[in-house]
């Protein structure tokens, strides 16, 4: 018995000795493998709401909730292209101006204080959307309106609005077809404008929009299959319209649990909003995606987790020769007296103020003229002899 135990422990000890160098060399491996987990170094998001008019409030709320999650998880505004086809927060029919709610009882205001809309109102057109994707913008377009991605960018594209079998309606007057979208993505791939693309669409018959994709590294999710309608979630009686679509509502609920260090992967995202909750059947497409969806983290697309390396070396620089005296100027002038602001709100004056004496002005020329006319007419009519009755 004791012999068994001794031999077993010796065996275990030898095993540990053998595997120890393997474990320590894994430290070097993980540095290189940390890079290759996802292969991207920056994140972009293109969020588009394509419908206007007050009764399409829910589409704007959809996009703003995704915007909010994406910003919370770390993607900065400079890397988000937000396109809203209509302004719900400042709409005349909004009983709560400057807010866009996503839940009834007005629990969550997704409009917030720091929303940066890049394309608004009538600027949201099929042409502008395709120009943003392919990069064919006029020279004068500012940086905030461009998608400046490179071959190591992961891009999230979210579209919502009214759609049909093979098309998505923009602004109630034009439409983008699934063939055009697939060609735009292929042109992006030809110029290596993305590393991986996640395409989410929340419209009726949304699955038809990703049927025609043929470029590699695209993963697509849709809220309903061909022939099904995507339904809205719940109306709010105070605001009077439906606040959100079901799919995006449950997507937002799912994303609220994700934090920047979360390890949730895409398989969890596919389970969002099953048929019992969504009434329509959400679909997804992963055959063009080269990695296993289980290894793609949610934060690979929705967040912006940076890869970081420690700087091991520094260049040895000698301090420069002291600049001649005129460059060295006195930085600290004599202490000046502390400055103070003028009293911005003189409350004492306001509360106890007496009505200001109005200065007497001579009567207006008009009033003078009017009375002269009246007097003239009177004396003309009744004669000058009545003058003594007046004075």
């Amino acid at each position: 018995m004791a012999n068994c135990f001794i031999s077993l422990s010796i065996f275990a000890f030898i095993n540990v000795l053998v595997f120890l160098p393997v474990i320590s060399s894994n430290g070097v491996e993980t540095k290189a493998s940390q890079f290759f987990g996802s292969g991207h170094t920056n994140n972009w998001a293109v969020l588009v709401c394509t419908s206007r008019f007050w009764f399409n409030y829910r589409h704007v709320a959809n996009v703003l909730s995704v915007y909010r999650s994406v910003k919370r998880l770390g993607i900065p505004d400079s890397h988000i292209v937000l396109m809203l086809a209509d302004d719900m927060a400042c709409n005349h029919r909004n009983p709560k101006p400057a807010t866009v709610f996503s839940h009834k009882n007005m629990e969550l205001n997704v409009y917030g204080d720091d929303v940066e809309v890049d394309y608004r109102g009538y600027e949201v057109t099929v042409e502008n959307f395709l120009r943003v994707l392919t990069g064919r913008l006029p020279q004068s377009t500012p940086r905030s309106k461009r998608l400046l991605s490179d071959d190591r960018s992961n891009i999230l594209i979210y579209l919502t609005g009214h759609g049909g079998n093979g098309f998505l309606k923009f602004q109630d007057s034009e439409e983008i077809s699934n063939v055009e979208l697939a060609d735009a993505f292929e042109q992006m791939w030809q110029k290596r404008r993305y590393n991986e693309l996640l395409f989410i669409i929340d419209t009726c018959q949304g699955a038809s929009m990703y049927e025609r994709f043929y470029s590699p590294n695209i993963m697509a999710l849709a809220s309903s299959q061909v022939g099904e309608d995507s339904l809205s979630h719940q109306p709010d009686l105070a605001i009077g319209v439906h606040l959100m679509d079901r799919y995006t509502f449950y997507l937002l609920e799912f994303l609220e649990d994700i934090h920047p260090a979360s390890q949730a992967n895409m398989n969890d995202l596919f389970k969002v909003c099953p048929k019992s909750q969504c009434v329509s059947t959400p679909g997804h497409r992963t055959d063009l995606f080269l990695r296993d969806p289980g290894s793609a983290l949610i934060t690979d697309f929705f967040g912006s987790v940076r890869k970081v390396e420690i700087t091991r070396e520094a260049v040895n620089l000698t301090a420069a020769v002291e600049q001649p005296a005129e460059a060295v100027f006195v930085r600290r002038p004599a202490k000046s007296e502390p400055l103070s602001y003028v009293d911005q709100l003189p409350v004492a004056e306001i509360i106890h103020q007496k009505p200001k004496q109005k200065d007497w002005h001579p009567p207006d020329g008009f009033i003078l003229g009017l009375w002269t006319l009246i007097l003239l007419v009177f004396f003309k009519t009744y004669g000058i002899k009545h003058l003594k009755h007046i004075f």
Partner: protein, 561 residues
């Protein structure tokens, strides 16, 4: 009866005349007015460019100093050799490397230079003797017993384009050929370090080829360095979260002029650089550092570093008016409460530079100032930042971001640090090789995919300016490939830059938008209401005329019988 007949005849002539006008005038007019203007493009030349065949030539000069060759071997030198290596990367890409090696013995002045006490001085005096051409490599073979290099160092690579290689003693008698073949692998290793090697070129071609062929280190290097672009914006930011305690002064203009500008000037053949700086007050890191009792300082461990960048980036301003990539270098001075602040790496060890960087974004350095003033000093304290130390770290990070610095050199090699010059000449050459290849590959894929797109979609208008850009891109590409073959690196880079500028301008021209996608059923839906009402009477009357002619012929035939 005759009147009816003439009427019918007139009717027939009228119908025929209308049909004639429609066919002869109408159809060509309609065709001409609905065709899109497409300028001529050199499609045949573009399809030739699709299969990339690159030849890279490098000149290697091997100089034997006294004591490395026996006298009878010396008689056969000078001698030159050419070696070629071919790699078929995939179906469409082939690379050929050509090493033209010239062997000679050292001149008297070079021998004097090699007699200097240390390797740096030898390198300096060798450089003063002759200037080597851009892209070439000069290797000086020094005898085994030489004291120039320490014992374990086999190769010393200088700041310019020269290297000192310690010859291994050659056992056994033999002619020059044996000596040269024994030397060849070592010279090849030096040439691979100082000019191009296969892995670097494959990484530069990573757009065209499958990822599996490139080694992990090269892939990590290519992910870290920014891609080739006509210009870069560099922004230096000073983050002061506690202006009440620290009043910071940094002479950024002087520091940039002294330390960064020499590097950027040397890199000017590759790209344009624009540098600016800003100071941000009350900017916090967004991550709470932990207090470490063992060193009585605050520490940031490596896992939390990734979450530092995003909150800071949201606050950084940028005056970039162009679409060029931006590199940010941040100097963070911790607030008085959290000083000193140290960064720990994954194995919890201290980092001497106290800085970290993020690939394709930039770097952050934490600068502790708590030892520059007494705790009882009057706040705010005036602090002048030591720009040499700061710029040393930023310069190292900048070299990594621009793709200058690669992974570790082979064992036994010592690379002289370029110091205040910023960049060694051979590092610049190495960068120029990979950038030229990258530019040529990118420009050719852009042009071929543009040609494919324009070919597929018959409706896109091709304006004259696009045709001109495409033609100039094609000519520049052909010139760049020719210059690479001839070994003129500077000209090759210049032509490749022109090619990539022209091809990008042509590809991203706003007028090329593929909005003219008309599915066939929509085309029918547009034309039928226009043309059908017009064509139906004409076709019917033509058919009637044809029927009457056939009837008359049948009558005539019947009459004959």
């Amino acid at each position: 009866m005759a009147a009816i007949e003439t009427e019918k005849q007139r009717g027939r002539y009228a119908a025929l005349a209308i049909a004639a006008v429609v066919i002869v005038l109408g159809i060509p007019l309609w065709w001409k007015t609905t065709e899109t203007y497409r300028a001529w493009l050199p499609f045949s030349q573009i399809s030739e460019l699709d299969s990339l065949q690159l030849q890279l030539s490098v000149e290697v000069e091997v100089v034997f100093s006294r004591g490395t060759l026996s006298p009878e071997q010396q008689k056969k030198v000078p001698l030159s050799q050419t070696r070629e290596q071919e790699h078929q990367v995939d179906g469409k890409t082939m690379l050929r490397y050509r090493y033209e090696t010239k062997y000679r013995t050292a001149t008297i002045m070079e021998e004097d230079a090699l007699n200097q006490p240390s390797a740096e001085e030898a390198d300096l005096s060798l450089h003063m003797l002759s200037e080597s051409a851009c892209g070439s490599v000069v290797v000086y073979i020094i005898p085994e017993s030489s004291t120039l290099l320490p014992a374990d160092v086999k190769v010393y690579v200088g700041k310019r384009r020269t290297a000192l290689l310690r010859a291994t003693p050659f056992e056994g008698a033999g002619g020059l050929k044996e000596v040269l073949s024994a030397l060849e692998p070592q010279v090849k290793q030096v040439a691979n370090t100082m000019s191009f090697n296969h892995q670097d070129i494959l990484a530069a071609l990573s757009d065209r080829i499958r990822i599996g062929q490139v080694s992990k280190e090269s892939l990590a290097d290519s992910m870290r360095a920014l891609k080739s672009s006509p210009g870069y914006e560099i922004t230096f930011s000073l983050l002061n979260p506690d202006p009440k305690s620290h009043s910071l002064h940094w002479d950024i203009e002087g520091a940039v002029n002294n330390y960064i500008q020499p590097l950027l000037d040397k890199l000017s053949p590759l790209a344009n650089f624009s540098v600016d700086s800003q100071i941000l007050y009350y900017a916090v890191l967004g991550v709470n550092p932990r207090f470490d009792n063992s060193v009585s300082a605050y520490t940031l461990n490596a896992d939390s570093l990734a979450h530092v960048i995003n909150p800071v980036e949201a606050r950084l301003g940028s005056n970039a008016a162009s679409s060029n990539p931006v590199l940010n270098f941040l100097l963070y001075v911790p607030d008085a409460y959290h000083s000193p602040l140290f960064i720990r790496d994954h194995s919890k060890r201290e980092v001497p530079s106290n800085a970290f960087h993020s690939p394709r974004w930039g770097g952050i350095m934490v600068y502790n100032v708590n030892d520059m003033y007494e705790p009882e000093a009057e706040f705010p304290v005036d602090i002048s930042i030591n720009m040499a130390k700061v710029m040393g770290v930023f310069l190292a990070q900048l070299r990594l971001m621009l793709g200058v610095q690669k992974t570790q050199p082979p064992p036994g090699f010592v690379l002289q640090s370029p110091g205040s010059a910023g960049l060694a000449d051979w590092e610049l050459d190495r960068l120029m090789w990979s950038r030229s290849v990258e530019n040529v590959a990118t420009a050719s894929t852009t042009i071929t995919s543009l040609a494919q797109l324009l070919d597929q979609i018959g409706n896109i208008v091709i304006n004259d300016n696009i045709a001109q850009q495409v033609s100039s891109a094609v000519t520049s590409l052909q010139a760049a490939v020719a210059e690479l073959e001839a070994g003129n690196l500077a000209f090759a880079l210049q032509y490749s830059r022109e090619a990539i500028l022209a091809s990008e301008r042509a590809f991203f021209d706003p007028s090329l938008l593929h909005l003219l996608y008309f599915p066939d059923d929509q085309k029918f839906a547009i034309y039928i209401p226009l043309f059908l009402p017009m064509c139906v009477p004409i076709v019917l009357s033509l058919l009637k005329i044809a029927g009457e002619i056939r009837q008359r012929r049948a009558d005539k035939l019947a009459k004959k019988d």
